[in-house]
């Protein structure tokens, strides 16, 4: 029982570490996006729209299966 608890504590710690890392990555990613040049930013906006459309297409296809 004790071992189980330790394991679960360890797992929780791992989870919280990965959440923290994820949060930090997200902040860094946001910072990077804000530092892009105008042409890079404009290109990225276009790419985001195309990727969103592609994702919706995949979702629609998955629903139809």
């Amino acid at each position: 029982m004790e071992i189980k608890n330790t394991k679960s504590l360890f797992k929780n710690e791992q989870r919280s570490n990965s959440a923290w890392e994820g949060g930090r990555e997200k902040i860094n990613w946001r910072k990077k996006q804000r530092e892009l040049s105008i042409s890079e930013k404009v290109a990225l906006l276009g790419q985001t729209i195309l990727e969103t459309l592609e994702l919706e297409k995949i979702k629609r296809h998955a629903k139809s299966l």
Partner: protein, 176 residues
Amino acid sequence: MQKVCDVLEQLLTDGVVEKYAIGGATAAGFHGEPLATRDIDVFCFLNIPEGSFLLTLEPIFKKLSEIGFSQFDEEGVIIHGIPVQFLSVSTQLEKEAVDNAAVVKWDTHTIRVMTPEYLAAIALTVGRPKDRARVVYLYELPNFRKSEFAEIITHHCLLGKWLDWAKGLQLDEKLN
């Protein structure tokens, strides 16, 4: 996307639209990080022929068709593979947002985007769940000018709505 900006500028230089500015998620994404969206919302003032009482987007579609963009999908006209939705400016707030849009130039290109403060004010008037999320996102941008936003929402009688939203969204309602 760069090519889409060029087409929008062409509509302006050819006099098809009097003024325009990109709004919605694309504009919001321009000021921070890209946000998921399916199209580009373009708010425009149309050049209405004298004696005409009917406001129509037809001149835009006609011109776009002439330069090779006649394909539509549910979101709008496809320009260089990207759906572009043209919206005629319908409120005083939208009119001001287009009038005060940021004009950003790079190389030989120009993009006209609504400022974060006007985008947030427009989101306040729409009020869908995604608009609430957008207000939070815009408000938290490092370059969000709170005093400018305060002026806009005061002028357009949105202060009460802002106080409600700020409370619900746990934002600092004080704008100075």
